[in-house]
Amino acid sequence: MQISKKTRQQLDLLKLLVKKETAVRYKRTYLGFLWSLLNPLLTALVLFIAFNVFMRFQIENFALFLLAALFPWTWFASSVTISTNALTGNVSLIKKVIFPKHFLLLATIIAQLVNFVFSLPVLIVLVFFYGGVPSLNWLIGIPVLIMVQFVVIYGLALMISVANVYFRDLEYIVGVLISLLFWMTPIIYPLEAVPAEARVLLAMNPVTYLMQAWRDLFFSNTLNWQYILVSGITAAVVLLAGLLIFRKLERKLDEVL
């Protein structure tokens, strides 16, 4: 396939930014890239002990139940958190070099996606461990859900990163909101456990059905098209809003950074 030099250069730039993002994050640690896997696993261990051992949640195969939603959640949460500073943390680049600024966000999200993809084998091993078998559903479900989740993260990242330039308190607010959102998302509990009156609250959360769809895929081996559709529409709306806000606020970035 013949692609123009300009496209080639843009692709190279995006690739290098992703590489830089991954290389730099763990550059001076001993365990390096392994941390990106270790991090969610250790979090999972803590949650497992707290809710399975101490509080004795009656959920079968709790480890798989937890990780099936926790890995995609980690991709979501870390991408959103890191992109909050993607613009404010690259002032010299933005003010001195001409390049598409949204690449900084895309690079962050893709770098975190790479981590997520590397965590998938752990899930698959767990599925085997609990007696499951790989299924055709995965071949369809994984790419579709990754796409939906990419869109919703990108939309949020567009809004938050550019808003943080004007309103720096956002950085701290996002930190709090993400941990709040964690408990408002069916990750350590199933969606069905939430009383009907309270479901409205969860419906306002843009990733509720997405995380539930991930779990349905790995835990129950089903493609829940209803949830996937709802998540997809939510993602599209979030992306549209993100693009509009980013486009509007980006024009005056040089004046406030």
């Binding site: 290389a23 730099v24 070099v97 001409i98």
Partner: protein
């Protein structure tokens, strides 16, 4: 070719962040951002024909760097029109985008691609960039281990190897030690005399006279004088002497 007509550029002038209470009470006002604005450029027009070189002189805060960032395209004029034909290479803040934990070689690739090359094109030029920088073995070390002079040398080496069509220079001729300064000055001069369109912001009056054929003198965002470089420099120096 660069052509700019009647450029105006203003920045919001906030004394401080509003406190929370003030912000909530006056939220519409702050969001509208109709407070005081500082005008960094007030109706500047200029033209540099292909292969020409324009010096921009003036005191600190006269609007020189703002003008450059508009010409580069990282900022938009509040009003006015800019037309630039050709690939722009900034020599503003050398090493913008360098990452301290990456090696010299890795940073060359990222920087070169940021300046508009494909990765393959950068790798083709890698050898001459490395040779020019005279960094030797340091080239494969993280650049946080470099002295600031070494970082500047690396950044400069990348910039002059990008076959620029339009150079936008902000006061950088003083790179590294004396021998490298001579070498970099020479390389730059060759580019400029070799037909690269140049806008050169500097406080070094001798350099402006040597490098540029024309010059403008900015004062408080307006052109105070323009014309043949030597004459504008003389006029400027005379005015400074009186002040």
């Amino acid at each position: 070719m660069i052509k700019a007509e009647n450029l105006w550029k203003s920045f919001p002038m906030r004394r401080d962040r509003p406190g929370l209470k003030e912000f909530v009470v006056n939220a519409p006002k702050f969001l509208k951002d109709n407070g005081h604005r500082f005008w960094a450029l007030k109706g500047v027009s200029l033209a540099v024909e292909k292969g020409g070189s324009l010096g921009v002189i003036g005191r600190n805060g006269a609007g020189k760097s703002t003008l450059l960032s508009l010409l580069l395209g990282v900022a938009r004029p509040t009003t006015g029109h800019i037309e630039v034909n050709g690939k722009r290479t900034p020599l503003l803040e050398l090493g913008a985008g360098f990452h301290p934990d990456l090696t010299g070689l890795e940073n060359i690739v990222i920087n070169g691609v940021l300046l508009g090359y494909t990765e393959a094109e950068v790798r083709d030029r890698m050898e001459s960039i490395v040779a020019f920088s005279e960094l030797g073995e340091f080239i494969s070390m993280p650049i946080r281990t470099y002295s600031s002079g070494m970082q500047m040398r690396l950044a400069f080496s990348i910039a002059v190897h990008t076959d620029p069509e339009i150079l936008l220079i902000d006061e950088i001729l003083a790179v590294g030690d004396e021998s490298f300064q001579r070498k970099s000055g020479q390389a730059l001069l060759e580019l400029i005399k070799g037909g690269v369109t140049t806008v050169y912001v500097s406080h070094g009056m001798e350099a402006v006279k040597k490098i540029c054929d024309r010059a403008i003198w900015l004062e408080q965002g307006e052109i105070r004088s323009e014309g043949e470089a030597g004459l504008v420099v003389e006029e400027y120096l005379k005015a400074q002497g009186q002040a």
